[in-house]
Symmetry: C2
């Protein structure tokens, strides 16, 4: 099945996946503690019959029993050398089931076999010992044995780690073009065991190219509704829901799933209404459950698939939205060795203590995104970038802006970044433009569009707009959306170009009002070479915010700048703007004192008396 | 002649006034040191013949020889009691001349007699001892005797003091509806003896309703061209030029005017091209000069009369323009006793030392206009306003904004104000609206339009716009121009109304972009009740400037606010914006330190290291 076929199928009607494998096999004789793949292959009839029953019940898609047939899991049972055989034979069983279904029912309904992958049981770095790239390889290896057998799509399910989802998804994308569904499992707090919320999962995985994202196992349908609804809010791909038949109870030493087929189906109808297009059951759901489900919801119009992309960055566990007209945002610029001897020295020694402190401090001061740039001589920039990135995420759990002039450094960082990052930046310079747009697409990153070309700065506003359009058009061709792009206003120095502010503001206005694009500027350039720069910077910031600026890359230690940003939100009537301003200034009384020469109080200072 | 007839006459062709009176009479026998009126009346034939010759030469208007026939001048010769007779008889001589001209030439050309007024020789307060109102009365009295004789228009000429021009103009306006030409005399620095430049004179006098403004005497035509050109730049009324026949030389003990009639006429042609519509000669110019002049320029198309009004305030000696998109302007708000115990105590004792200091300081800090408000209990507000106004003008020579809630206080202040002032303010409150618009017109003042009504604050933006339109329409009906109006954005408190800033900015944008009106706001209200108000105020100021705000009423001691205003000009590319910003911040290093509680350095303060 192609991705396109998958999408049109899901939009034409509700799609049904199968019910439980494990709990049904146990019901039918599989003891606990055995290697499930071995047992299935030793008792092929049980699996074939179960999957035939699911097809008879109405499942469109059955999951080949390759679930834990990866080299790490199999090694636990000493079966690593069986990897290839097992996978090939396990897929073969699903083929048998399909054959039996057709012959038994005489149906010519089209049904599909999905390769099924899940976690290895060994956690990925930095939480566990497994290097990210090795995990990618584990999945690639398993897929390498499954794909030649012919499957219609890939399912990655019962995932608890977003980073491991990413590894599996990259493995799929680097191995085949089949549609891929990724399904996570959530606890009762609506978080994965590693803390990812449904919103972050859908944003990251759909950006990276998942064809559907879902949730399975752990809870019954009732508890799953809220998760589906939350995912649906941000999704522009279909949602899969595959809950357990209720939360299992231990009755007479046996695990019992409390939800009967009719009740299960009734609750599933609500899940469909909440936004799931692909439904089935997980633990405890039998062919009867699927039959009831199919009968109950098969004629419901499938939820419409939104086309709206969301402008957001994430870490592994949380999302930072970037609304076009919401609170003003600051990208902290301090993690950058330029002009900072201490930081340079530390980076040279692979010591990340300043990186860590800068990350924490900037977030405490109001940065919502952190720029990471480790570009300097005498280091392996790629290696230091990966270290700094992990350190900053640990210290601050705040989305990062990956800032490097080297394509390979950006790519390495994005590959390892456990959420949705921002690339700083993509210009029309050939080396960046040709390589980084596909990289942004592959890793689901947003990017800062810097309107420069190989010819340098645009000569005028017209040329600047032209560069912007060229890059956007190319990004859209590559499958990115407008919402993935933040345009840099490209601020000149007002000391050198009298129109520097006017031109940057017009760029911002044009991007926001006419193109509905988010914008960013670096502030310090505007005042280069002038005295008392903070007043120019803060005034320019207010101008730019008023012109529609979305965010600035700045040093959040600069009180005047930050207070101006907070006051701007208050004045713009942004939600909670007043509260946030008051919190800011009362928790952090401003002490702004600049002026190298005369630090005396100005001659006239009756401000207090006269303040009304 | 009506004002309308005068205007259409002046627009149809070049108008010719007469040549010299005094120098020609002296040439024809009048000794020096005599009372000229007495001598003329004793030798009527000389004057009649001279004026007949002027009419024959082509003068359209002759000036009745009432020049110094005011009660103060006549009293110098002990002739005060002759005031009425002299004026009546002197006008009669001009009538004789007209009669003789018609009978001698058989012409039926329409010619006109102007009543002629000039300075009294005693200077008006505060420069001299003469109360302003007494001077108005001197002119009214003279006019009271002239007008019954029937003249076609009034000429006030050879004036050296703008304030005395104002007194004479008010006397004319309060006595008759005849057209009035006011002509000043300038030294070689293009200033009157009291320091008024041509620009300030034309702006003040045309605003007050003069029908033509001009320059006469002192210099020859060549030196006068620049003055005419400068006046023309700002004039929407015709310009009169009546120069001497060159600068007089003493030859063998006799005053000789060097410019021959042909040369005079040639130079006058240049003056016409520079913008004069009404031309003639002053000292040394004979009927031959006028004849040559008429022949040379009578067929030239008269200069077009501009309709463009200029947005400007003045003192007696200088003009402050208020361009719609020029440098941002500050109206200093400190001269206001509200909340200032020291100032209240002084005002109660008619002590103006704080007023004087506040005026100087605010201008030194960058205020271009000073608000004067002396409203408080226990004083005669009108009297204190006049004192404070004169004191502030003396201290700072900066245009004033007359701020009172009492119509009579505003009117008294405007009457005495020696230039073009700003009224703060006119709302739709009945008492203000009905009275103050005609007062603004009469005294040539600009006014702040405050969009309030008797029902209080407008309920919404729509009502606010409606009030603005109602007041503007009325002002235009009364003969005021859009350029005479500055709309107050009427800023609410953002703590009470989340949309306070948004609504004020929309008002500003609407007024500037759609109505081409200047705007002003008071800044302090926006942040009322919130902590660390300066950041809200300065950010709001930047927002408002970006939205098109023309000026703010503010305390120029507030460094952050003022630096924001200066930085705004720099960023907007306003002429000299960079230079002015650099001057400001280097001469006045900012020391902004607010925050009642914690005055310690913030924990994170690596700004220096990181500033790039
Ligand atoms: Zn399950
Ligand atoms: Zn996208
Ligand atoms: Zn003269």
């Amino acid at each position: 099945m192609t991705k396109k076929e998958f999408q049109s199928l899901v939009q034409s009607r509700i799609m049904f996946v199968d019910g439980a494998t494990g709990s049904n096999l146990q019901q039918r004789g599989m003891p606990t503690g055995v290697c499930p793949e071995q047992w299935i292959l030793d008792n092929p009839e049980v699996l074939i019959e179960l999957q035939t029953e699911f097809l008879e019940a109405g499942s469109d898609i059955i999951f080949a029993p390759t679930f834990t047939a990866n080299r790490i899991k199999l090694a636990e049972y000493g079966m690593a050398e069986k990897l290839e055989d097992f996978n090939r034979e396990l897929v073969g069983l699903s083929y048998e089931a399909v054959k039996r279904y057709y012959s038994r029912c005489g149906s010519n309904r089209k049904v599909y076999i999905a390769a099924d992958l899940t976690m290895t049981g060994v956690q990925v770095q930095p939480v566990g010992p497994l290097p990210f790239e090795e995990l990618v390889d584990v999945y690639k290896q398993q897929l390498g044995y499954i794909l030649p057998c012919g499957v219609d799509l890939i399912v990655i399910e019962t995932m608890m780690s977003l980073q491991e989802c990413r590894a599996a998804l990259l493995a799929v994308k680097e191995t085949c073009d089949l549609p891929v569904i990724i399904s996570l499992t959530y606890n009762e707090m609506n978080r994965t065991i590693f803390g990812t919320d449904p919103k972050t999962a859908i944003i990251v995985l759909q950006s990276m190219g998942a064809d559907a994202v879902g949730v399975n196992c752990s809870t019954g349908p009732d508890k799953m509704i809220e998760i589906v609804r939350e995912m649906k809010r941000y999704a522009y791909i279909p949602i899969m829901a595959k809950p357990n038949a209720g939360i299992p109870k231990l009755v007479n030493g046996k695990t019992v799933f409390p939800l009967e087929a009719e009740d299960f189906a009734a609750e599933m109808e609500e899940i469909v209404k909440a936004g799931a297009s692909i439904v089935g059951g997980c633990c405890g759901s039998t062919p009867r459950h699927i039959k009831q489900l199919v009968e109950r919801v098969k004629n419901i119009q499938p939820p419409a698939i939104s086309k709206a992309h969301i402008r957001a960055l994430t870490t592994e566990s949380k999302t930072v939205e970037i609304p076009l007209s919401g609170p003003f945002m600051i990208v902290g610029e301090r993690i950058n060795p330029t002009g900072k001897k201490d930081l340079q020295a530390e980076l040279r020694e692979e010591n990340m203590s300043i990186v860590s402190r800068f990350a924490e401090e900037q977030v405490a001061l109001g940065a919502q995104v952190l720029d990471i740039n480790v570009g300097m001589n005498g280091i392996d920039e790629k290696q230091i970038m990966l270290l700094a990135m992990q350190e900053a995420l640990l210290a601050a759990d705040t989305p990062l802006c990956i800032d490097s002039s080297h394509v390979e450094v950006i790519e390495a960082a994005l590959r390892l970044y456990p959420g949705r990052a921002l690339i700083n930046s993509i210009s029309l310079e050939k080396a960046k433009y040709d390589n980084l747009i596909p990289i942004a697409k592959k890793y689901g990153a947003m990017f800062i569009l810097l309107p420069l070309s190989d010819q340098g700065m645009p000569k005028n506003l017209e040329e600047k707009k032209q560069i912007i359009h060229t890059i956007i058009d190319r990004a859209l061709e590559c499958g990115l959306a407008k919402e993935d792009i933040i345009v840099d206003g490209l601020v000149n120095t007002v000391g050198a170009n009298k129109n520097a502010s006017i031109e940057a503001l017009e760029t911002i206005r044009y991007c926001k009002d006419e193109l509905q694009l988010a914008t960013i500027i670096g502030l310090s350039n505007i005042s280069f070479g002038l005295p008392e720069r903070q007043f120019i910077n803060s005034t320019f910031l207010a101008f730019a915010i008023q012109a529609g600026l979305t965010m600035a890359i700045a040093n959040p230690s600069q009180d005047l700048l930050m207070n101006t940003a907070f006051a701007s939100d208050l004045l713009r009537g942004v939600e909670d703007g007043a509260e946030r301003y008051i919190d800011r200034v009362t928790m952090r009384p401003a002490t702004i004192s600049v002026g190298s020469a005369n630090q005396e109080k100005p001659e006239v200072q009756n401000v207090k008396e006269e303040e009304m």
